[in-house]
């Protein structure tokens, strides 16, 4: 026990020994150690006592913050601590887009359906987006980009949990724009989002008509682009705190501003027809989402665009055609001093911790701002700043009470599927997963409203004064469902259910685990390293050890060990 304490000290002090290979493990994602006897209780002393595991734990922790899938070989490789080089390499990788996979998997699923005698196949729908999302999330090399894109999808929300659910190609194309935005420039990102027909539908600036008589332009997009996508409700200092006047926060905009921005976002119509419509050319103004292309950016119809001067924020104006006005308005928002701290906080919350310090927000926002010569809005630099910040990396911060974050349900799920040995007879990684949305409260691109699954300012009663957004979807129902999902995955062995007669299900392969669990400590240590980054406390560890030892058969031992590690707070609460 004494040595375990030493180990924790070494973690806290940021012990930086050169990484060595984990005892007996090779570069495969399963333990192949050949220790000959039941090591028993002393094993964790032996393993942690050498002090060298700290770097592997730290690497595993870093990868859990920046990827969906990481294997032991990745942890080994990154145990040299050169995270910056890894990030640079990730940024340099070509983008793995969702759309091509979506198209291929839609066609394959359709062919399976017809081969089984089905008629009138439905889609591509959000089901096919789900299939493609999982395939790409679990196989793409550019993991960091995908992890950031998921975060962006929870800021720039459109949802298949609406009529958009019928348009898998639209959801995929939109997600591809977010992938571009992950390491691109924020200004391009908000332009892509603004012109996307699915966003146009979701926030109703598609076919938004200029003022006619008493009918005024729709204000939906004008409001949400300010409140949710760029600047938020109140003026911010660069460290994310509110600017105060007479002790009160200062609103960033009022209803008159919304009316002016609503005029800007008029005149956009579909940029092409849906393939199935048999029409060609550009659709007329008023053609709805069902008829138009779900991927071609919206285009102007100048006759429907509000003429005249529009008053933007901070004294700016615009008086141009549709694209000119939108360009000016997006520039106006992009250059608002709020954007840096606003976006910095949201992204830090989704990757690192729920309660970043003002200093941390300030450092990241400064990178966003391009202060000191950088390019304003360079998202690759922002992501890098978030991940490499001392508050994200240095062990001294990890034990602060507010240093934690509840890992969001979809990331918890993806990292389990990503790491476990899989038995995948079909070779496909298709997951319909809609029940996860209902039962866990989160699923990619299925938010119930534009306000995302949970709010950045959510404070559960049990964490008085601390923000913990993900706790908003952790309640009487979802908490039990979470434990039971783990049961389904690791006890019933089914990771994925498809909707194609379950011919494409994905299971856990216990072949190696049934062997490895015979050396209990190594088994626990392996999953502690990978899933809980060396933070499995002695108490939980003893409970897991006891449970494994009290089950009489190897597969039962392997399963109960995994079940208890994954249900433990150390897995879901990320520090």
């Amino acid at each position: 026990m004494k040595k375990t304490v030493l180990f924790f000290l070494s973690l806290v002090l940021g012990f930086s020994a050169i990484a060595q290979d984990y005892i007996g493990s090779g570069n495969v994602p399963v333990i192949t150690t050949t220790s000959s006897t039941e090591i028993g209780f002393n094993a964790d002393n032996v393993l942690s006592g050498n002090g060298l595991e700290a770097d592997a734990y730290d690497a595993s922790r870093f990868l859990s913050q920046s990827t969906f899938v990481y294997l032991e070989e990745d942890v080994d490789m990154l145990s040299d601590g050169n995270y910056e080089a890894w990030i640079d390499a990730q940024i340099a990788l070509p983008t793995t887009y969702i759309s091509p996979t979506h198209q291929v998997e839609f066609e394959e699923a359709r062919d399976i359906f017809y081969a089984n005698g089905g008629v009138d196949y439905y889609g591509p729908s959000d089901k096919h987006f789900n299939y493609a999302w999982w395939t790409v999330a679990l196989t793409a090399e550019d993991q960091l980009r995908h992890r950031v894109a998921l975060a962006l999808s929870e800021i720039f929300v459109i949802s298949g949990n609406s009529d958009l659910g019928a348009f898998g190609e639209g959801l995929s194309d939109y997600y591809d724009k977010l992938l571009d935005g992950s390491f691109g420039n924020f200004r391009d990102l908000i332009e892509d989002v603004t012109y996307h027909p699915c966003m146009g539908y979701y926030l109703s600036h598609l076919n938004n008509h200029k003022t006619v008589g008493n009918i005024r332009p729709d204000e939906n997009y004008a409001r949400e682009i300010m409140q949710l996508f760029t600047i938020g409700l109140f003026e911010l200092n660069n460290d994310g705190s509110y600017v105060l006047e007479n002790g009160e926060p200062v609103p960033t905009y009022d209803n008159e501003d919304i009316k002016e921005f609503a005029k800007v976002f008029t005149g956009l119509k579909g940029g092409g027809w849906d393939e199935d419509s048999n029409n060609t050319g550009i659709p007329p103004f008023g053609a709805g989402i069902f008829g138009i292309s779900k991927t071609d950016p919206m285009v102007p119809d100048e006759s429907k665009h509000e003429p005249g001067i529009k008053y933007l924020l901070n004294g700016a104006t615009t008086n141009s055609d549709t694209n000119g006005d939108i360009t000016n308005a997006l520039d106006n928002l992009f250059n608002h001093p709020n954007v840096g701290p606003f976006i910095a906080r949201l992204l830090i919350q989704k990757l690192i911790k729920s309660n970043p310090s003002p200093a941390y927000i300030n450092r990241v926002a400064t990178v966003f701002n391009g202060t000191g010569g950088g390019e304003r809005g360079n998202m690759a630099e922002v992501v890098k700043a978030i991940l490499l910040d001392e508050e994200a990396r240095q062990a001294s911060y990890q034990l602060d009470e507010d240093a934690a974050r509840m890992k969001e349900p979809i990331v918890r799920y993806a990292q389990i599927v990503g790491l476990l040995d899989r038995d995948n007879p079909s070779g496909n990684l298709w997951n319909n997963g809609f029940n996860y949305q209902d039962e866990m409260g989160q699923y990619p691109m299925q938010s119930p409203t534009v306000f995302n699954f949970f709010l950045p300012d959510y404070q559960p009663g049990a964490l008085y004064g601390l923000y913990a957004p993900e706790f908003q979807v952790f309640n009487t129902r979802t908490s039990i469902n979470w434990v039971n999902f783990i049961h389904t995955w690791v006890v019933w062995e089914t990771l994925f259910y498809d909707w194609e007669n379950n011919t494409e299900n994905v299971y856990v392969d216990y072949t190696n685990y049934d062997q490895q669990v015979q050396r209990v400590e190594e088994y626990i240590n392996f999953f502690d390293k990978m899933f809980t980054h060396g933070t499995l406390d002695d108490f939980t560890r003893q409970e897991i050890r006891t449970a494994i030892n009290s089950v009489g058969w190897d597969n039962g031992k392997a399963k109960i060990g995994l079940y208890l590690i994954l249900t433990s707070p150390a897995y879901t609460i990320q520090r």
């Binding site: 934690a404 049990a462 039971n484």
Partner: protein, 457 residues
């Protein structure tokens, strides 16, 4: 809104104020009341639920307009049973023969209909006013938006706070039984039951509540798992986040154990069909009985249930599909009502229907499309039944004052009026109605001595 700390603080202050008021108007813990929100998802084609009527041979009646507009979707006179109608302006009205159980409830004064009710931000008198800048619900004709609006009573914005959830936070059960949420859902979490902090306790229509799978079921694996989980979930991790995580799971599992033992200890007297809807009403009945007998659930003074039935989005095959759905509803309500009468709880339980929109009166050849105003019903011992409330569109013709094209009608009654009646019956003081129904003052003077509609007593 609903996005900033500042805003939540304001809302919370309001809720606290409301609780104070609410306590003064609510009785003791044995003053039990339950509301059941029954949602017909997809948009019920309610022109075939509450239908104009005439004697055969009559001409130039509202029924003739209905029949001409509906073409293949019109119910024949022989398919309909006439209702006694209290408001002569509504003309003669009927319901389909196949919901004869509901006809009985109507005749016996336990069921009422509401005519042409829908989501509104402010009253809209006619189509001329509609085509002005007058505020209209966001996303008219969209399922997701209109479902949200019926559940939030706030159609000018997209919010995920529902009036049931907000109302439940005003009930302040703290002096009574807080073991289980006031809000119980048979169909997953929903906006209706989501408040600032409140959310649905979700149960299954036959299995009831959900706990840790196989917990307490015995066997080597389960026993070892149970013991480890018990210890881990009880442990103080010296970490607020981890403690919040384990205590949520533990409390949820404990709630399940308590809930299931309560449900298991009551017996129903009526028989219910096997469909999910009928079984859902059986489960609701069990829960209500458990709350009103000596079980761990006893002493709950208020309960709000949510149950829904899908399949109303019938762009084709309306007649067959709707008959199937309404027959199920008729059966479920019949068993449930008898159960409540037998248990002596009939006056304390009110079931009310919602549906995101009515459908077009006109046919697309096989079915109807998304509309706006529609007809609803409510049932219970407290209902002043045997009446049709509100105004059925006086003129169903194209281009009549309420018609917006294709047989879509501007609602003549705001859903807020309907909800206000239910909230008042539940115990919300009139002056607190705006807390749960933000637009109510557009339709009703909350300082008035008269109730909005007089639906309940």
């Amino acid at each position: 809104m609903g996005y900033t700390t500042l805003f939540s603080t304001l809302t919370n202050l309001k809720s606290i104020a409301a609780v104070a008021n609410f306590n003064s108007s609510i009785g003791d813990c044995d003053d039990y009341k339950a509301l059941i929100c029954f949602s017909m998802r997809g948009g019920n084609d309610s022109f075939n639920l509450l239908t104009p009527f005439k004697d055969s041979g009559e001409t130039d009646t509202q029924y003739d307009v209905y029949s001409a507009m509906r073409t293949d979707l019109a119910l024949g006179l022989n398919d309909l049973t006439e209702l006694t109608v209290n408001n002569p302006l509504n003309g003669r009205l009927a319901i389909p023969n196949y919901i004869n159980g509901m006809k009985t409830m109507y005749d016996e004064g336990d069921l009422a209909f509401l005519a042409n009710v829908g989501s509104l931000v402010v009253p809209i008198a006619n189509r001329d006013e509609y085509y002005t800048e007058i505020a209209k619900p966001l996303g008219l004709y969209s399922h997701s938006d209109q479902q949200m609006h019926w559940q939030t009573a706030n159609p000018a914005v997209r919010t995920n706070k529902g009036w049931g959830g907000l109302m439940s936070e005003m009930t302040n059960q703290s002096s009574c039984n807080t073991a289980v949420s006031v809000n119980i859902s048979l169909n997953g979490t929903n906006v209706f039951q989501t408040g600032n902090d409140a959310f649905s306790y979700v149960i299954h229509h036959t299995n009831g509540s959900t706990g840790i799978r196989n917990y307490g079921n015995g066997g080597g694996f389960n026993n070892a798992r149970d013991m480890a989980m018990d210890n881990i979930l009880d442990h103080d991790f010296q970490d607020a986040f981890k403690n919040a995580y384990v205590s949520t799971i533990k409390d949820s599992n404990d709630t399940h154990l308590l809930f299931s033992s309560s449900i298991d200890s009551v017996n129903l007297t009526q028989t219910y069909g096997d469909s999910r809807l009928e079984q859902s009403f059986a489960m609701i009945a069990k829960t209500i009985l458990a709350a009103n007998s000596s079980t761990p659930l006893s002493n709950m003074k208020r309960q709000i249930f949510y149950v829904d039935l899908g399949g109303f989005d019938v762009h084709d095959e309306v007649l067959v599909s709707q008959q199937d759905s309404l027959t199920l509803i008729n059966s479920a309500l019949s068993s449930f009502r008898q159960e409540m009468i037998t248990a002596g709880l009939h006056d304390k339980v009110t079931t009310f229907s919602i549906s995101e929109f009515g459908r077009t009166l006109t046919s697309n050849g096989q079915g109807s499309d998304h509309g706006w105003g529609g007809n609803q019903f409510l049932m219970g011992g407290a209902v002043n039944g045997n009446k049709v409330y509100g105004e059925y569109p006086a003129d169903l013709n194209y281009n009549s004052s309420l018609e917006l094209g294709g047989g879509v009608y501007i609602p003549t009654m705001s859903a807020d009026m309907y909800f206000a009646e239910l909230a008042l019956w539940f115990g919300v003081p009139k002056t607190d109605l705006p807390i749960i129904l933000p637009n109510i003052s557009e339709f009703y003077d909350i300082f008035s001595n008269e109730n909005p509609l007089g639906l309940l007593s």
